[in-house]
Amino acid sequence: MNETHTHTQTPFFADKQEKLAEILSRYPADGRRSALMPLLWEVQREERYVSEERMRELAEIVGTTATEVKGVMSFYSTYHDQPVGTFHIQVCSTLSCALAGSDELFDFLSNELGIVNGETTADGRFSLQKVECVGSCGTAPVVQVNDTYYERVGRGRCRHLVDALRQGELPPVWRERGGDTVGAAKAEPVKQPTDRGEG
């Protein structure tokens, strides 16, 4: 870690007392520690990672130690103890996506951005990460950029996505659900019953 330790940093929630109170109020009084995960999310969304300084602050808020906070953070895949890029590109690599070309997709992005798994570009704009199943198997392959899913990312869409991100913008999502997800009126068989033995 190459963050600079500034112990004079303003506490994260100093000017967000209302938000802090709201998060704490979601849990019962004897369950204050439950607020740890949402507090980590809150910090990370704004600062793109959670520094050791912030870990100490959160520990104090929920009544535990910074080591415990780090222990919780490191258990989960999506909390970062180092800053990620402006665009954190996560490529699902589990079976259904792999069957739809996620390995090739990942290699394409890696070549395009000049970084390998887990790295961030020198200008801090892009991070690239292989992740495990994100629940988009029916619309594989899927690329998650920050909190947004881009689904059925074929070669053309991947090119388009990279170009848009280079311009500094998240392109609009193309929402694809496949299957039945077209409303009941259309949710009827696409084919008459199969004869047994066909196929």
């Binding site: 004897d30 980590l40 079976l95 069957l99 299957g179 997800t181 068989p189 696409v190």
Partner: protein
């Protein structure tokens, strides 16, 4: 249900979506523009089941109705939901919690996601019904961290419901009060295991807890707790609306009702399909998903943890129910079917899954931490990269059988089942690869334009 009625008078169960009596219910409004709003939901009959339960049924009657429906837990284990609900001790005036498990992380599963994104009020209503039945004082909805849209839609739906008096104090004018907090996970498959999920909700590392005590005795903060899957709860909405007999009119002897099946891999129309339990894999794969787009050789029946079957008529014609799958050495799981094409090396496919479980092993117990977390992925890596020896296949088999049944929680067995099934059906691919240093099926580029 009236078992006394002569069997001759009893109509045949609905076992296929082609049956004209079958109606899509849970997934009816998914994909419909604007369906996630309270206005839409209420104008399409929403919250009528909650009203019926809260104003005209006792909690015990709600539990009895769900028991009579035959609904079994949709998260994978298939435990009867009504029976689970009846395990809760009578209220003692202290807090008791309903937790909805929306940490949908099993590869091949994506049904809960679309319910939360497109029909979040259905889940809110299901939680109200479950909470009323068990007289819960508070609810938690644990959504996996990646489902950002689903999380925001659920939060918005809960806020709308609260503003409309559907959550909070004296819901719908009854004396029942209940509210829900959405808790966002942060990427950990193990949180699908209910005791790990509770640790995560308490702000701890999500290691599973020893059972007993079971959650109904000591769960969240040591208080009585019940954890239900998203679609177990949404099923209860329609059971209350239409009655247990309606739900039980669908399905096979041990598996009742309607269920969301998912299909992915190389088929024409991947996605979620709602079908009556007892419909066959063939009906899902061919009639609804349009059939394979590449020559298939195997399918995973219910999410990555469920042992695969080779592509044979006797397996394709199995009804997708709990008992049949168990009898055939697999599990219904989440109902997430993954089709595997002939040209995908089965060892490579399993390496992909083993790597997933290795990544998700929580580290609590030795067989899983070392065996699943380190040994298995390394052995697979060795084979896949062409460095295997013929005796490695037997070694792999021995490691797998030594892990099986010896781990603290089901995660390790969830990895071993698929490994063993692949060895059972496709041992020749393992042996070929170990002997020749290259796969029978060269790696293909399947990335579409």
């Amino acid at each position: 249900m009236s078992d006394q009625v002569a069997t001759a008078a009893k109509p045949a169960p609905i076992l296929s979506r082609h049956d004209p009596r079958y109606e899509v219910t849970m997934y009816r409004y998914v994909g419909v523009e604007g369906a996630h709003t309270l206005d839409f939901y209420r104008s399409h009959g929403g919250y009528e089941a909650a009203r019926k339960a809260l104003t005209s049924m006792t909690p015990a009657q709600v539990i009895d109705e769900v028991k009579a429906s035959g609904l079994r837990g949709r998260g994978g284990a298939g435990f009867p939901t009504g029976v689970k609900w009846s395990f809760m001790a009578p209220p003692d005036g202290k807090p008791r919690y309903l937790v909805c498990n929306a940490d949908e992380s099993e590869p091949g599963s994506f049904k809960d996601r679309y319910i939360m994104e497109d029909d979040p009020h259905q889940l809110v209503e299901g939680m109200i019904i479950g909470a009323y039945a068990m007289q819960m004082t508070f609810g938690f909805l644990y959504v996996r961290g990646e489902y950002y849209l689903g999380t925001t839609r659920m939060e918005a739906a809960i806020a709308e419901a609260r503003a409309a008096g559907l959550l909070g104090k004296n819901i719908l004018g009854s004396d029942f009060s209940f509210d829900i907090t959405v808790h966002r996970g942060a990427g950990a498959y193990i949180c699908g295991e209910e005791t790990a999920l509770m640790n995560s909700l308490e702000g701890l590392r999500a290691n599973p807890r020893l059972k007993p005590p079971f959650p109904a005795a000591a769960g969240m903060y040591g208080r009585p707790t019940t954890i239900n899957n998203v679609t177990s709860l949404t099923s209860s909405v329609h059971i209350i609306n239409r009655g247990a007999a309606w739900f039980a009119s669908m399905g096979t002897d041990d598996s009742k009702g309607t269920k969301l099946y998912q299909i992915s891999g190389p088929v024409a129309r991947t996605g979620v399909y709602e079908m009556p339990m007892g419909a066959t894999f063939r009906e899902l794969i061919y009639d609804f998903a349009g059939g394979p787009t590449m020559e298939p050789k195997a399918f995973i029946p219910g999410g990555s943890s469920t042992p695969m079957f080779p592509w044979e008529d006797r397996f394709l014609d199995m009804p997708m129910d709990y008992g049949t799958l168990a009898k055939n050495g697999s599990m219904l799981g989440t109902g997430g079917v993954i089709v595997i094409p002939r040209d995908k090396c089965i060892v490579d496919a399993l390496y992909n899954l083993v790597r997933f479980y290795a990544h998700e092993s929580c580290g609590k117990c030795t067989p899983c931490r070392e065996g699943v977390g380190h040994w298995l992925p390394r052995m697979y890596q060795k084979l896949v990269s062409g460095l295997g020896r013929p005796e490695d296949v037997a070694l792999l088999e021995s490691v797998a059988s030594n892990i099986k049944g010896n781990a603290f929680c089901p995660l390790a067995d969830a990895c071993i089942g698929p490994v063993q099934a692949s060895l059972k059906w496709f041992r020749d691919e393992y042996e070929y690869l170990a002997a020749n240093g290259k796969s029978k099926y060269a790696k293909n580029d399947w990335w579409q334009a």
